[in-house]
């Protein structure tokens, strides 16, 4: 809301400098975001919260300024309106139009507004049009009641306030044609629509230099109806903004009276008819009991009854002492946001000053318990960092085409996305990491090791569900990089107490290669290799491990000491090459079976890419560790066992020993 000091000063006493007024208003809840001098006046720009439509007028602001500064208010009010002459107006939707006043003037002269009026309009940020329209705008800002002036010569017969017919069209004041729906409320004559009620007038019936007869509408329309139409049309005007919130019949009638008076004074002419429908007084204000003890307890203040009564009176309440420590408060009609005692607590607190309320710090009681699952999440993040991965945050919304590729049709879609690139909730996390890889590679970054913990969103039939996932990934090229990544994933799992992890090959069309990762019959998640698709590095592949956080949590065990052997183990190496497409898992069980208790682990220690290997073969050196917990092994018995293992490898037609 924009307003000026001079405009406000006409109606309420202000005895402090503008900057101080701005500060006091801000501390009372009307945040002044800008204050600028302009031709002997000061222009305030204030943010008005959605619960305070009364502050969208100079009239309402005056009450607020009085409450803060304690000065006097001076508003001349007009006696109630009464119908006279014959002016045919039909309200067909009475529920949506609680108050309607139509006034008809003849012999009016349309010209430029006098200087004082133009100044007032400029100070609230409205451009001048002509004396008639300017007067309606002036009254809108003064009283918070939107008025609309029609060129009455364009009205054919009676005025009807009705719902639009589906598809009815109106060329609006802004020069745009709008198509109406049967839910929209309109002002019409016998033949056609003249205006969209409470939102915008029609071009054809607008006030123009030739206008002699003016029909002035002052009405209150149903907030919800205006809001729906305004939203549907995407059209927000000074009028609709106020009708959506609150417009009072009393202020509307006052605005109508003042406008007619000003029009007749400025433009000459005479009033030939008035038609009033509905009650001018509007609904009565509610009564609320305020207990001083409850107030002081809620705020932790030591306020006295007279202090509280003064604040409420200045805000426009009528206050009566009820018992020795409570007040019966008659709430002002213009403060529909006040309905209960607690609302008055806020009124008292903000005028008294939030800064005057004491500060108390105490340890709070709690029946809620620490969540072990959340602690686990924190732990996993730290373990991932230790393993050398950087945490990223990627968007939960992805394009639909991507979701389709990932999960067929079982994804969760938004109906009102901002852009089509962000219209589906992602069914997995690794797409986000892949995008971060692509971005970083194109930005010439290397050594990319990322992780993320976030929700994925799943759908089964019509039922949706979300669960937290964990994804960890690296960028690399060949099998060597993959196995290094695999080692780091195993380190992370082992830090969680998840041991005996197996990798079962899977054919997944999204991945170049993939494996189901299991530990003791529990499927943990999936590991996969996928092309990153970066422009700057065509060879780059993403190595990904993704698992449900809940599953990891279930599989995790706290650290537990296991006795270890001080006896030296013996290691033996074998260099071999694997045929393309052959998986080590096809032979590993046999090796383990023969190795038994003595074979404690197998690791890769070297890679070999020689021209003497058949095409596609992958050369590796494996190291076999032999050990028994209870005694030292002899070289002879290890050699015998190792020879058997070598034999198994040698017998495979898919493996070449080097």
């Amino acid at each position: 809301m924009r307003f000026s000091q001079n405009f406000l000063r006409e109606f309420v006493e202000i005895n402090i400098p503008p900057a101080e007024l701005a500060r006091r208003l801000t501390l009372a809840g009307i945040e002044v975001v800008s204050l600028k001098p302009r031709g002997g006046d000061w222009i305030f720009e204030a943010e008005v919260t959605a619960n305070r439509p009364d502050l969208l007028s100079i009239w309402g602001l005056s009450y607020e300024v009085r409450a803060i500064l304690g000065g006097k208010i001076k508003f001349n009010t007009y006696p109630p309106l009464s119908s006279q002459g014959s002016l045919p107006i039909y309200i067909e939707e009475k529920k949506l139009v609680p108050f309607y006043a139509g006034r008809l003037m003849e012999g009016v002269k349309v010209e430029r507004s006098p200087l004082w009026l133009r100044q007032r309009l400029v100070s609230v940020g409205i451009e001048e049009t002509n004396n008639i329209v300017d007067i309606t705008n002036y009254c809108l800002f003064k009283w918070g009641a939107p008025l609309h002036a029609f060129d009455a010569a364009k009205i054919k017969g009676a005025v009807h306030v009705r719902r639009a017919k589906e598809g009815e069209k109106l060329l609006c004041l802004d020069g745009k044609e709008r198509t109406l729906s049967s839910a929209d409320l309109v002002i019409a004559d016998e033949q056609r629509v003249l205006a969209i009620a409470g939102i915008i007038g029609g071009k054809d019936s607008e006030i123009n230099p030739q206008t002699k007869k003016v029909f002035l509408e002052a009405a209150v329309f149903d907030p919800l109806s205006i809001r729906r139409t305004s939203r549907r049309l995407g059209l927000n005007t000074e009028a609709s903004y106020r009708f959506e919130r609150q417009v009072l019949p009393f202020n509307t009638a006052q605005a109508s009276q003042e406008a007619v008076e000003l029009i007749l004074r400025q433009g000459g002419g005479r009033l030939v008819g008035t038609r009033k429908l509905g009650r001018e007084e509007g609904e009565k204000g509610k009564k609320v009991t305020l207990s001083l003890a409850r107030l002081n307890r809620y705020l932790d203040t030591r306020l006295k009854l007279p202090q509280v009564a003064t604040i409420l009176k200045r805000l426009g309440c009528e206050v009566r002492l009820q018992k020795e420590d409570s007040l019966l408060v008659n709430l002002p009609r213009h403060r529909k946001d006040l309905t209960a005692e607690v609302d008055l607590f806020e009124e008292v607190a903000r005028i008294y000053g939030y800064k005057n309320i004491p500060i108390r710090l105490s340890f709070v009681n709690n029946s809620a318990r620490v969540s072990a699952a959340l602690e686990f999440k924190r732990r996993l993040k730290r373990i991932s960092v230790q393993a050398g991965f950087r945490e990223i945050v990627s968007f939960s919304l992805i394009p639909e085409e991507e979701a389709k590729k990932l999960s067929g049709h079982a994804y969760v879609k938004l109906i009102n996305p901002l852009r089509s690139g962000e219209n589906v909730l992602r069914p997995q996390l690794w797409g986000g990491i892949l995008q971060a890889f692509r971005y970083n590679l194109n930005q010439s970054q290397s050594d990319l090791n990322f992780f993320e913990i976030a929700n994925v969103y799943l759908r089964e039939g019509k039922r949706v569900q979300e669960e937290a996932h964990y994804v960890v990934a690296s960028v690399g090229e060949g099998e060597e990089d993959l196995l290094r990544f695999k080692g780091r994933v195993l380190t992370i799992l082992s830090a969680l107490g998840i041991e005996r992890v197996e990798f079962l090959p899977q054919s997944e069309s999204k991945f170049l290669s993939a494996a189901l990762v299991k530990s003791q019959e529990l499927s943990l998640g999936i590991m996969g290799v996928i092309k990153v698709g970066a422009k700057k590095n065509k060879k780059a592949k993403g190595f990904i491990f993704e698992a449900s956080l809940g599953v990891l949590y279930k599989a995790a065990r706290p650290p537990q000491f296991k006795p270890f052997s001080y006896l030296p183990g013996i290691k033996r190496d074998i260099s071999l090459a694997l045929k393309p497409g052959y998986h080590f898992s096809q032979i590993e069980p046999k090796l383990r079976e023969v190795g038994g208790e003595m074979l404690t682990k197998i690791v890769v220690i070297d890679f070999y890419k020689g021209s003497n290997l058949p095409p596609g073969y992958r050369g590796v050196t494996l190291r076999f560790y032999y050990q028994l917990p209870q005694r030292t092994l002899t070289a002879a018995e290890v050699d015998t066992l190792h020879q058997k293992i070598r034999q198994i490898l040698a017998e495979s037609s898919d493996i070449i020993l080097r």
């Binding site: 050398g388 050594d447 979300e466």
Partner: protein, 344 residues
């Protein structure tokens, strides 16, 4: 005897100077070993007259030390010559490491401040329904107050385990407050961090997805002064001990009284700069006493229990704390951004 000692020393000087690395060990044995000439002379000390004993003894020890020193120097010199020297002034080989996202760093720091006051962290779902996101929070479904909470809706006809109203992506973390209050009896003090969504076009200060931390407490005698207390404590722990707070009356449908909280600008200390747009204040969070209607919507008797709630944007706090000027940096995941937050 003195002459013999000096002769040994002279011989040692010559031989050590000419020795290779392999020869040094045998020279050590020759001159300082158990059977060395100096050892033999030491054994013969007792044959000397008492007056000479200390003098010759001292000379033998000095000679031993000198030879030892020469051997060590020679060994060092040979090592250097063989490339075993270390140059600490060469530029470092960088060691890769992991890191937490700055949003996690800030969220966890905020959590710690409140945990120390007895708060417990909980999480809620991101897919919520109209009841939890709006109605139970005293936000009418079709009302201008809804404009503050523009929301993404899910396709029609979908449902969750228990759904009241249409499904949506939560536009704030407050629905979790409703869920906790409906599931647990007070006293309560809970912190809810998480992702929230609003249809805001992305620019330097807006994003359709961002992070919030919501906190609330319900007990028999919680007052507005307690709300001020926890927030003053929070701001001084998270920023500096000198941070000033300003509570401005505001409007949220779920709190009454409501306030917006500004901190004294951490850049200019309140003098006015470009970050605080000259005002000296930075808005950091919204708060208030939980509206009695919200307590009642959760089956909590508002005559017996009072509570407060507050909520803040994690990005906003992180941007102020780390001096980040573009919100998009949080979601681009540029390595040069991430590696600035190696602390964890």
């Amino acid at each position: 005897m003195e002459e013999e000692i000096l002769k040994i020393k002279k011989e040692a000087v010559q031989q050590i100077a000419a020795a290779t690395a392999a020869e040094l060990e045998s020279l050590h044995i020759k001159f300082l070993g158990r059977k060395s000439l100096l050892a033999q002379l030491t054994a013969r000390l007792r044959e000397l007259p008492p007056a000479q004993k200390p003098l010759i003894g001292r000379l033998i020890n000095e000679t031993k030390r000198t030879i030892e020193q020469m051997l060590e120097e020679k060994s060092g010199a040979l090592a250097k010559a063989e490339g075993e020297e270390f140059d600490l002034t060469l530029p470092a080989l960088l060691q890769a490491c992991g890191s937490l996202h700055p949003l996690t760093l800030v969220a966890e720091e905020i959590e710690e401040v409140f945990k120390n006051l007895g708060f417990v962290v909980a999480e809620g779902d991101e897919i919520e329904d109209e009841d939890h996101n709006f109605s139970a929070l005293n936000i009418p479904l079709e009302h201008p107050s809804r404009d503050m909470f523009d929301t993404f809706y899910l396709e029609e006809g979908l449902h969750k385990k228990e759904t009241q109203g249409r499904l949506l992506l939560r536009s704030h973390t407050s629905p979790a407050q409703i869920r906790v209050m409906r599931n647990l009896r007070p006293p309560l003090a809970v912190l809810v961090p998480g992702r929230v969504y609003r249809p805001d076009a992305v620019d330097a200060t807006h994003s359709f997805m961002f992070h919030q931390i919501e906190g609330f407490a319900v007990d028999r005698d919680l007052r507005f002064s307690d709300l001020k207390g926890v927030l003053v404590n929070f701001a001084r722990k998270l920023f500096t001990a000198e941070t000033q707070l300003r509570f401005r009356p505001s409007f949220f449908p779920f709190t009454e009284p409501s306030a917006e909280v500004d901190i004294s600008c951490i850049i200019c200390k309140g003098k006015g700069c470009t970050v605080c747009k000259g005002s000296g204040w930075l808005e950091v969070l919204g708060c208030g006493m939980i509206h009695p209607r919200v307590l009642q919507a959760c089956g909590i008797d508002s005559k017996k229990w009072q509570g407060y709630a507050f909520g803040m944007g994690v990005e906003r706090i992180a941007m102020l704390k780390f001096g980040i000027d573009d919100i998009r940096l949080f979601y681009n995941n540029h390595k040069k951004f991430l590696e600035q937050f190696n602390a964890f």
